[in-house]
Amino acid sequence: MAWVVFGVLSFFCLGSVAAMIVSRNQAHNALFLVLAFACLGGLFGLLDAPFAAAVQVIVYAGAIMVLFLFAIMMIDLKGGLPPERRRYVLVLAGLLGTVLLAELLLVARRAFIGAAGTVPAEGSGPAGIGHLLFTRYLYPFEITSLLLVAALVAAMTLADKPDRKGVP
């Protein structure tokens, strides 16, 4: 049963990313990405990480993708762009990408042999994550909040109408 779910989710996930590569319409691309992220959320659930799954769907498939759609709306790109044509980029990227994939699969194969966890990791529920975040990872957590504030201010400054002060 788990294998079936895994297969379906991974098929749609990889498929939608592949479709994104083929499609030229940016709005479609964004929607494909939503599908891919939603599937990933399901996969996270399979991995006994319900909190990460929920956040994935809410933040990624929800908030961030809405942001993308807004940007697409504001940037009117007629007809989309044809794919890359420069030969050396495609050849090198294809070559290196294949080698990277091979390497990553080599890594994964070792984990295949290793015993898989059959029980959920201790404290993998939302409560456990919260506990971790507020004890061992308290300082990184607080620093992340600073990062978010900085990003917020940066976004407002950058996207502000340019004519008020002339900069940026």
Binding site: V17, L40, A52, V59, F68, A71, G114, A155
Partner: protein, 100 residues
């Protein structure tokens, strides 16, 4: 039970697809999406290893990656918007003025 290796293989494939998308696409927005795909592949790998190692720590890391990705998306998007307003294009090949 699905072994962690299967998830890792999926993560690897997803990452490679993200790389491919980044190089094939030519507009900033879609390339940005490709970067997000790669980030998610990394998250998937983290969670797979979290399960295999029976430690929840990697899940906390995933939360951090998500947060940083959100911050990055916001700032990146406003930079793209700004570039578009200035240069009327988001073709990456047209935005090549940053060189010595």
């Amino acid at each position: 039970m699905i072994p962690a290796g299967a998830f890792l293989a999926l993560a690897a494939a997803l990452f490679a697809l993200g790389v491919l998308a980044f190089f094939v696409k030519r507009d900033l927005l879609t390339q940005f999406m490709a970067v997000e795909v790669m980030l998610n592949a990394a998250n998937l790998a983290f969670l797979a290893l979290a399960k295999a190692s029976l430690k929840a720590d990697a899940q906390a890391v995933v939360i951090f990656v998500l947060t940083v990705a959100a911050a990055e998306a916001v700032v990146g998007m406003s930079i793209i918007l700004l570039a578009f307003r200035r240069r009327k294009t988001i073709r990456t090949d047209d935005l090549s003025g940053l060189k010595g």
